[in-house]
């Protein structure tokens, strides 16, 4: 009895809190990519139901009707085949999968993270370097850089170019949609757009050691004028040269975001090149040989 009560209690808490479950992540989209992904999510769910629901309906009926204790039920131990049923159970899933395949082909192309988002405004170009355990954002056109916070104007497409200084990581702002891996010595692309102003959590989703859980950043979608002001403000900060960068690249977490007032155009490419040519052990992001890994 006690257990039952406990279970009810837990279930009640669950129900009460479940109101919140659609309020985070891509099911509460703040941009067109996440919105399209949400639509895909429900669309695929519905189509799949065509195959699943009959099963859920039939299962209890079959169990009830053909239970051993039921008297006078039909019993045909040698019944093993029916062309009609067989065609249905192969045919229906095949049709559904064909429909879903057509959908996947289209959606994968329209939602390709490499595909620029159409719009009247030119995309804002932001370069991203994943470090252990922080995120560096370089604005090559505005010539500023920030750590653990990224700002962009609402309604303007953002073109992220990403790489990693250390191990593979994955860049994601759940409420804006797609994630993409960042890989050392390689560059990946991601196009996102925020259609609602706000502060969104961004994170690494690929485990990379001790402070993985704390490797979060803030994505700020702000108005055009605010963005201009933001850039201006940051331009007064000290420059990001290779030396400052090497300090950042050491394994650490930062308690506060950092900003840099000027960056060279080439820094991002220099980082990519350096990772490709210098053994990782000689770079600041390596684990110290005596420390425990991870």
């Amino acid at each position: 009895m006690k257990h039952l009560l406990l279970c009810c209690l837990i279930l009640a808490t669950l129900l009460l809190s479940s109101c919140g479950f659609l309020d985070y992540g891509f099911l509460a989209p703040a941009g067109p990519i996440a919105e399209a992904q949400r639509d895909q999510f429900w669309l695929v769910t519905c189509w799949t139901m065509v195959v699943i629901l009959p099963f859920f309906v039939a299962m209890p009926i079959v169990l009830w009707k053909y239970r051993r204790s039921r008297k006078n039920a039909v019993y045909r131990p040698n019944w093993t085949f029916s062309w009609l049923l067989e065609s249905l159970i192969w045919g229906v899933p095949l049709v559904i999968v064909s429909i879903l395949s057509w959908n996947v082909w289209k959606a994968t192309h329209t939602l390709d993270p490499y595909r620029p988002i159409a719009g009247d405004k030119p995309a804002l170009h932001i370069q991203v370097v994943s470090l252990d355990w922080k995120w560096l954002f370089i604005y090559p056109e505005q010539k500023i850089a920030s750590v653990n916070v990224v700002a962009f104007p609402v309604g303007r497409p953002v073109h992220f170019e990403l790489t990693s200084e250390t191990v593979m990581q994955s860049f994601m702002i759940p409420r804006l949609g797609s994630q993409i891996y960042t890989m050392p010595g390689m560059v990946t692309q991601l196009h996102l757009l925020a259609s609602k102003p706000g502060e969104y959590r961004g994170q690494n989703t690929q485990y990379n050691g001790k402070f993985y859980a704390e490797q979060k950043f803030t994505a700020r979608a702000i108005s055009d004028s605010e963005f201009k002001r933001w850039i201006k403000q940051k331009q007064s900060h000290p420059p990001l040269d290779m030396r400052a960068y090497s300090r950042l690249a050491q394994r650490s977490i930062l308690s506060e975001p950092e900003f840099f007032g000027s960056v060279t155009q080439e820094l991002f490419n220099q980082i990519v090149e350096r990772v490709k040519t210098t053994p990782a052990a000689d770079l600041p992001g390596a684990a110290k040989a005596t420390g425990k890994g991870g």
Binding site: S82, W90, Q189, A213
Partner: protein, 695 residues
Amino acid sequence: MTGEPLNYFWLGKLSLESLPFVEFIKTPNSSTAIAAFAAAAVIGGAIGIVVLLTLFGKWRVFWREWLTTLDAKKIGIMYIVLALVMLIRAVIEAAFMRAQQMLAVNREGPLSAEHFGELFTTHGTIMIFFMAMPFLIGLINVVMPLQIGARDVKFPLLNAISLALTAAGAVLVMISLVIGEFSTGGWSGYPPFTELAFNPGAGVDYWIWAVTLSSIGNTLTGINFAVTIYKLRAPGMTWFRMPLFSWTALCTSILIIFAMMPLTVATLMLALDRYAGFHFFTNALGGNMMNYANLFWLFGHPEVYIVILPAFGVFSEVFSTFSGKRLYGYHSLVFATIAITVLSFGVWLHHFFTMGQSANLNAAFGIATMLIGVPTGVKVYDWLLTMVRGRVRFTTPMLFSIMFAITFVIGGLSGVLLANPPIDFAVHNSLFLVAHFHNMLIPGTLFGMFAAYNVWFPKMFGFRLSEKWGRISFWFWSFGFYLAFMPLYALGLMGAMRRTVQWFEPQYLPWLLVAFSGAVLISLGLISQVIQLWVSIRNRDDLRAPGGDPWDGRSLEWSVSAPPPEYNFAVIPEVHDRDAFTWMKQHGISYTAPNEYQDIPMPKNSVVAPLIGFLATMLGFALTWHIWWLTIVSFLVILGTVIARSFCRDTEKIIPASQVRQEHEQWLARVKGLIPTARADETTSENQGLAEVAS
């Protein structure tokens, strides 16, 4: 944890700090205390086994009847014992992870980040390589030769060596609790994280050698099973008379043969990077970790079908046996199995849609992935239709199978969602994925193995398992599963990522609490299974089923005594029908003595396998800690053993016809004395393993 080496020549990188006890004394906190406790448990367990064997004077029996035996049934049982022990460890680890995540919302939990990293890595590695694989391989060893009417597998010694290599890997994972640490790189061990520059400790090396040893063992097993099924089927057993479990055993073996090698290659290449300065997967100098991702998942995706196909086979047998009916859609099920086998090699890319390849490629692999859903869906419906017009008996194995079918379909839905690249871009690496694969693996693989354990246990040991405790364990596992994993779907959709030691989102808390309560129920389920075994052994006299056919079985394994004789069949049976034993029962030719018995050659015991197992453990340990002298010695002795054995001609013993006759006639006489059981009394002590023949 690496301190000053004690003596590099003799002990390699080993240092005092490699011991968790020393670590605990140096920095006492909850995390190191748990580590020290786990180490103590391993040492205590090992000492306990030694003491018990000595107290009861069982060393000789243990050596003669078990360690050196080449009998597939006993090898299978040892595999399953290994799997159960490792299952207990991995479930405890899972409960700790659930506790940690529940306690670590906006504050630090009891475990350190590294410790948590080791936990998900060992949990995943153990569950796949040292729980699921040994369980299903053990089961195939026990059932398949009997089911196809063979006396043994084709290569009995190879079989024992495979077990020894798998056990060596498992022992390495156990040793890592006591000496040093384990990898934090997850069960997939992705470089560059697992490269020397980022993980210089011994943990990754433990992982590499444990996985490498087990993958080699598995490859040998795959070859062994496939050859057995091709070559040793009883006369009359054509392909389409072969029971479905054996079909899935064949398909799994083929998958193993082709899928294990990419894994062995990947881990060995990673080892070359770490030990010899190669640059396969490093960041610089031409290395590229994307090659690892491809190699790993070229193994990893077929692997999920390796662990699920035998369970599909089990469900096919269970649905048909416990509905008292022939399998519906046998050909459909066979072709679906084959289709899955083939297709499963063409979908590996869905594990990294987010790696930046072109939309064409992602779309193609997404579609291929959904295609696998078709034969899988067909199977589920075939099982449902197997029950239609049957007489369904809700025994423990049947309950597990029904719960499997219902739950698996939900997992199928999340699978179709994940196969869609745009959706995957939003939930990749999240707890939604964790929920999905547990949703496939627990009802699929694990419930399948539990069902099989309940079905074939009386065949292996001659007495049934307690039905009451079986049911209790079933209910705990089922409710536990739903409570533990459904919340993870929601959490994943809310942006919660896997492998996370600490949360900063208070809204996750209620879901994490429910998930933890599920883990508690699951643990109770596991405890009920321990009790079930205990109670059944105590009451074994009430549960005996010497007739060997407690469930009105349909395939050949039920036609022999329980436990079966070493040589399985006094005379190799002739197969006339798909449900070979049912046919025999209906034609009144079951339990008949043949006109003539013959001498049966069987393999002699051999010390080769335990020796290789011991040496392989040494080799893995020595490599992990860079103890080169031991590496060279153990490797050379393994090589020498194998070569020496190949010159040994005296490997068979003859079981004389007279002995076979005597044993068989004794059993037949015993069966004559049994009262046939009606299905209604199946779970009572009436059931002594002789089924009433339905008219």
